[in-house]
Symmetry: C2
Subunit: 454 residues, 2 copies
């Protein structure tokens, strides 16, 4: 049985064909790859690094199974000597990375892999796949957090996330970015993320009477339930809730809130608030959902709509305005020699790099420098060692702590970068030593074509 999620075969064919060629030539010196984003989408003023935990887990467990090797042999594309050499392959390299939740910008490596060539190359596809998606989601979700301070924000997006892992990892990445929790049960079980849920329209519809549906749900969950009130007529339902809640109160049962899922959410919220307040239920909260994103949240909050919490799904989990990042995992050094790709519009900075971040007197980020690792510059170095010789240097950080770290990162953002609209770009400079290295690499590689990188 091949495990779809953890299989080493979750990679691109060319990784394996290149490994065959490296094997044939005995090429397996130390390679240095760095993962970075070439360009920020216009809709993002910064990015939040995420997914490192899953990368470390993947690397620590990298193995070919007998079944996978047999299948590869059956394709006729590889020699049995080569496949035999993969039997004992595991990840033995070093990894440096920005901690999850770190704010970063274009061209800044958020992860560096230093390992024998075959290991560092093989893992490219899945390492990118893991970091890319969580970074996409965290960088989207944090925008919702900005515009709805103090509101409950819950990930509702499993059903339209792009597959099982996207459902799980978007719950993780949005929580890390500051969401309150998720509706995805498995994310609660695996990542200890707080779970939230209300009820579906179908629950109302299975009952001949809406009030009876409310009654039956509350009896089974006498704690802190949220009733969905838009199945037929929102305000009529709110009145039913008031009548029922008065009765329940006498029985010692309190409800937590009501949910709106359609129509003009702000207007319904105002009317429902009035109905609840008039009925003596000022403490019952109003929760809204329905194709929300940071733009709609901003408008709802700005309108003063009395909404206490939001379910945010599809448009966050798919990062609808920027569903991907121009990410890359590039060879920067091989066998001790710095390397640089010079393809048009895709040139890279060579060598092992570090990002130094300076802060102003108020603790706000005041500019980054992309430098070579050996340089010692002013500021905080963002890349830290996280794996050595294939072993993790630190145990898995509790997600709650990652979330706190993210909040600190966000607090240090220059105010203009918190805007939803495109702001003046944050300054990332290139150190003189790095520029000089790029120049010298250009002089020693075959063609005379040069093009700027950055």
């Amino acid at each position: 049985m091949i495990d779809q999620r953890t299989s080493v075969l979750l990679t691109d064919l060319y990784q394996l064909t290149m490994l065959q060629a490296y094997f044939d030539r005995g090429m397996n010196d130390t390679a240095v790859f760095e993962l970075f984003v070439r360009k920020l989408p216009r809709e993002r003023n910064f990015l939040l690094a995420a997914g490192l935990e899953q990368v470390l887990d993947y690397l620590a467990n990298l193995r070919f199974t007998r079944e996978e090797l047999d299948w590869l042999l059956s394709t006729g594309r590889f020699t049995s000597e080569f496949l035999h050499s993969l039997e004992d392959l595991c990840f033995t390299g070093d990894v440096h990375a920005m901690p999850e939740g770190t704010v970063f910008f274009l061209d800044e490596p958020l992860l560096r892999v230093v390992a024998p060539l075959r290991e560092a190359q093989l893992v490219e596809s899945r390492v990118m796949n893991l970091v890319h998606y969580q970074t996409v989601v965290a960088s989207k979700a944090v925008r919702c957090v900005f515009v709805a301070p103090g509101k409950l924000l819950v990930d509702f997006g499993l059903r339209r996330a792009h597959g099982a892992e996207a459902g799980l990892h978007s719950a993780r990445a949005s929580y890390l970015a500051g969401f309150s929790g998720t509706a995805t049960v498995l994310a609660g079980a695996l990542f200890d993320i707080p779970l939230y849920g209300t009820m579906a329209h179908s629950f109302i519809q299975t009952h001949a009477d809406e009030g009876l549906a409310f009654e039956n749900f509350v009896r089974s969950h006498p704690g802190n339930t949220t009733l969905l009130i838009d199945t037929y007529d929102t305000e009529l339902a709110a009145q039913k809730v008031v009548a029922l809640a008065a009765k329940w109160r006498n029985q010692g049962i309190a409800i937590g809130g009501v949910r709106l899922d359609s129509g003009d959410l702000a207007e319904h919220a105002r009317r429902v608030r009035r109905i609840l307040d008039a009925g003596g239920f000022g403490g019952v909260r109003i929760f809204a959902s329905g194709n929300l994103d940071e733009y709609k949240l901003r408008d709802l909050v700005a309108s003063g709509a009395p909404i206490d919490g939001f379910g945010v799904g599809t448009r966050m989990n798919t990062s609808v305005d920027a569903p991907y990042l121009n990410s890359a995992y590039k060879l920067e050094e091989y066998a001790g020699q710095p390397r640089r790709k010079r393809s048009e519009g895709k040139a890279t900075w060579p060598g092992r790099k570090q990002v130094y971040r300076r802060f102003d007197q108020w603790g706000h980020m005041a500019g980054d420098v992309l430098a070579l690792e050996w340089e010692s510059l002013a500021g905080v170095p963002l890349l830290r060692p996280v794996m050595r010789n294939g072993r993790r240097l630190v145990v898995s950080t509790p997600l709650k702590d990652v979330r706190d770290y993210t909040a600190q990162q966000i607090a240090a953002l220059p105010a203009p970068l918190r805007a939803l609209e495109e702001a003046e770009r944050y300054r990332v400079s290139i150190s003189d030593a790095l520029r000089e290295l790029a120049r010298s690499v250009d002089e020693t590689t075959p063609s005379q074509l040069t093009c700027g990188a950055g």
Copy 2:
């Protein structure tokens, strides 16, 4: 160990809290849910149904494990009686569905689940998650197929797909829609999809000399390799390929093609074609990649660029212009009574439905009718029984056959719907009997609010 991909906990919390309430009231009559798309994105003139195979697999294996039930108990949200009742839960219902690859439109159910309430409700989140994503990708990928007839189209998108399953399922859905194959090895192993691959820039960069890199790769893969030629200077590299290939020819080694991945692909292709032809390598094909989608493919093909095949990745796998569909899984009947949700802008058609499709004398689709299942109308009924009492009625269809069926569906599309731009909407009518049923359901449900659905 909880399996992240197959766990029943990959669901929304409210499914389980609703099940607790149903258990407490002894409500478990037959429920009918249908999955449909409320609205087509402006960028799609039709959709292609996909993901059914994975849904049937999921339903056939639906089980709570001991560990999952223990975890649910530990949350304190559920009674032990209820959790005990889940121990023997499996899917015992019936499923009707459109075959994968079927063209469909708004409001048309592509899947119907008829099962005891707790089963039909529990599976909502994952069934939607599975069908939604493959449908998104197939409906995007087929647009690439339209604009690049006769070209090799290969899915290159694993690294930026939204997680592991998105990588795998986008390989499947794009192949189903007419792509030639994928670079994702695991998709080849699991779904028997043809694999394609070239080489990465890093392979060139690990060699001090580009020509030596070509040499080393070709020696290891003397078959039908594709060499990447844009790492430094595309045309210089093409000249090197010609010189080397002349030598290899004398040794009985032929190369298949070259790949361009940056710059003005059309212009580079023209220049490279001239270089290859002048060198006597008219048979060496040109393959292009780099942030392509159907719009760029159309322009490249229209420009007459001599490109024989395309690697299409990120923008297809994330369906960048329409990353989600307004899909819904709604209760249409419970305990023999038709049901209808009437939330503003989200009203549904009640009852068990069928879609009848008529064709004109040339075999082109000429209009659909959304009707009740018992009606017998002119045209081909699109929903077919695929599962009865929890057992599949047909074995898994080979993906190659699904792909052929899709091609037939596409051949029957009215020409205007093949446009990349928004076309006049295909006509989907509502049968008189269905309208009448909706009216009568409205009269018997609590509120007097009515709103159109469609």
